[in-house]
């Protein structure tokens, strides 16, 4: 369970990015965070693992208060929160395997990581994850040789290699084409379900959010203005979040596709291992 209490962030420029945000995310819930640019979505998820230092309020994960931890404790806490980034943020000159293993950095000592001598169990897990996302034939490619969708899947593996309880996902589809976007979102949600992780997905695309999330939180100018199920996003609510615009087309389309994808999601939930392998092969074929 992740709990934010009166979380506040004021940047040194004086801009108040978050105004006393209260939020609870139960274990295993996939939550989408929507809102216009500059609403504070990125700041919010970066305040959770303190890549951005909050200026007020509390963040606690499973009872452990993250705000106020010392540097060493913070590192240990960060291991429990995997993060997936907008532009993938892979270290481009490292190989795919090194990128995935960098998710284990919080668990191994400096010299082991320096000589790339990770425990065999970590390497096994890395292979398993890469196999799950259909990339185990690309282990020794350098990250800058991959396509966008492939990079994002490596990014997902890196986050999951941390063995997290919570995924912080920052605009995972911002630089991907529509089809790859859906594949990536589906993959993230499936993996969360398989492992029982909760996730906060920060996303621009309202349709994608409705398709895959169980709960939607709308952020506007650093305040929560909507918190509820995906089908509660009416034209009025969207106007409240984003401002005046003709929302009918968006909503209708979402409802149509929502049904199909609801089924797809159900199917995904029922995926056993066999299906996962099939799915992986399909993805590998797509690349």
């Amino acid at each position: 369970m992740l709990r934010l209490e009166k979380l506040e962030k004021r940047y040194r420029t004086g801009d108040l990015a978050l105004k006393s945000v209260d939020l609870e995310v139960p274990d295993g819930q996939i939550m989408a965070l929507i809102g216009p640019s500059g609403a504070g979505k990125s700041t919010l998820i970066r305040c959770i693992n303190r890549l951005v230092e909050p200026t007020g309020g509390k963040v606690s994960l499973s009872g452990l208060e993250l705000t106020g931890l010392g540097a060493g404790q913070l590192r240990r806490a960060r291991r429990r929160m995997g993060m997936i980034f907008q532009e993938y943020a892979l270290v481009e000159r490292l190989t795919v395997m090194e990128n995935v293993l960098s998710g284990r950095l919080g668990y191994v000592g400096f010299w082991r990581s320096y000589f790339r001598k990770f425990p065999q169990s970590d390497v096994d897990e890395a292979f398993r994850l890469l196999g799950r996302v259909g990339l185990d034939h690309m282990v020794d490619k350098r990250a800058d040789e991959l396509s966008g969708g492939q990079r994002q899947r490596v990014g997902i593996c890196r986050a999951l290699a941390q063995d997290p309880e919570l995924l912080l996902v920052d605009e995972p589809t911002a630089s991907l084409d529509p089809k790859t976007s859906r594949q990536i979102m589906r993959l993230v949600c499936e993996l969360c379900k398989e492992r029982g992780l909760s996730a906060i997905i920060n996303i621009h695309d309202v349709m994608l959010a409705q398709m895959f999330a169980e709960r939607i939180v709308g952020l506007k100018l650093g305040e929560i203005v909507y918190d509820g199920p995906p089908d509660g996003l009416t034209a009025d609510v969207l106007t409240e979040i984003y401002g005046e615009e003709d929302w009918e087309a968006t909503i209708r389309k979402v409802e149509d596709e929502g049904e199909e994808d609801g089924e797809a999601l159900d199917a995904a939930l029922k995926h056993d291992h066999q299906a996962a392998i099939l799915d992986r092969d399909r993805m590998a074929g797509n690349t």
């Binding site: 190989t95 790339r116 390497v123 282990v139 020794d140």
Partner: protein, 271 residues
């Protein structure tokens, strides 16, 4: 692939074993080279002096403060000379560097097999030899004075400017040149309309960059008699006038800081 199947587990290593061994061998070789070099240098070193260095340093520092401020009056003229050496030397370098660069660039050279190698050799020779050594040679031939300094700076800068310039010329967009050539323009016209506009910013940047370096270099040319503030520095050190030395060092720092500031401003204005 550095992935092996060892029984049930798949083992991953960063590199192949042979590659890893080769890298260790290189490290070993580098380490041995370093130790060898160190031994050769230490053979020629009188270690007693080295261990005594901190006393010497303390002594010297004590004798250098406070700087002799009234000596400043005698420094204005050398500062002016220093500036002139740097500026006129840069001008001279530019005059020669532009044709050399056009001869050396693969896409503008008039003859690939004769002029280009000559130009390249000229560039390397000019760059390999420090301006102080150029100054040493010129003082031996032309006698001491500012003129030797200007020519020394000029000779050293020709290679530097020409190298950067010909690299800029080789990187220009051929499409634009082609378009101008397609209008029926003559060779010089192609240069003027197709090539020059593309390299002007690089040219200006290189000029300012080299001028800044030349200011630094011209402060020391006096050590071998080629004019500028280095003459006073040399004289003060020979006379053991350490309070004058410290003032000259301050002046040099100030000059360098100011010239860096000016060149940063100009570069900013160009971009």
């Amino acid at each position: 692939m550095p992935v092996r199947d060892a029984g049930t587990a798949r083992v991953w290593q960063r590199r192949e074993r042979a590659q890893q061994l080769a890298i260790w061998a290189c490290y070993l070789l580098a380490g041995m080279t370093f130790v060898l070099c160190w031994n050769l240098v230490s053979e020629k070193t009188i270690w007693a002096f080295v261990w005594d260095a901190h006393n010497q340093a303390g002594d010297l520092a004590a004798r250098m403060v406070p700087p002799r401020w009234d000596y400043m009056e005698q420094l204005w003229w050398p500062i002016w000379d220093t500036l002139n050496i740097a500026t006129l030397g840069t001008f001279m370098a530019l005059v020669f560097a532009v044709p050399v660069a056009f001869f050396a660039a693969r896409n503008t050279t008039p003859s690939r097999f004769l002029l280009r190698p000559i130009a390249l050799f000229f560039i390397v020779s000019s760059r390999s030899i420090n301006s102080l050594i150029w100054a040493l040679m010129l003082v031996a031939n032309l006698g001491p004075g500012v003129l030797a300094g200007i020519i020394a700076i000029g000779l050293r800068s020709i290679g530097f400017c020409a190298k950067l310039l010909y690299e800029a010329i080789e990187e220009i967009d051929e499409g634009q040149v082609e378009a101008i050539r397609a209008t029926g323009a003559s060779g010089p016209q192609v240069l003027a309309y197709g090539v020059l506009p593309q390299i002007m910013p690089a040219f200006a940047g290189i000029t300012v960059f080299r001028w800044d370096i030349n200011i630094r270099e011209s402060t020391v040319l006096g050590l071998v008699g080629a004019g500028g503030i280095g003459l006073q520095l040399n004289a003060s050190i020979t006379n053991l006038a350490w309070t004058q030395v410290s003032l000259i060092l301050l002046v040099i720092i100030a000059t360098v800081v100011v010239s860096e500031w000016i060149s940063a401003k100009i570069r900013h204005a160009i971009i």
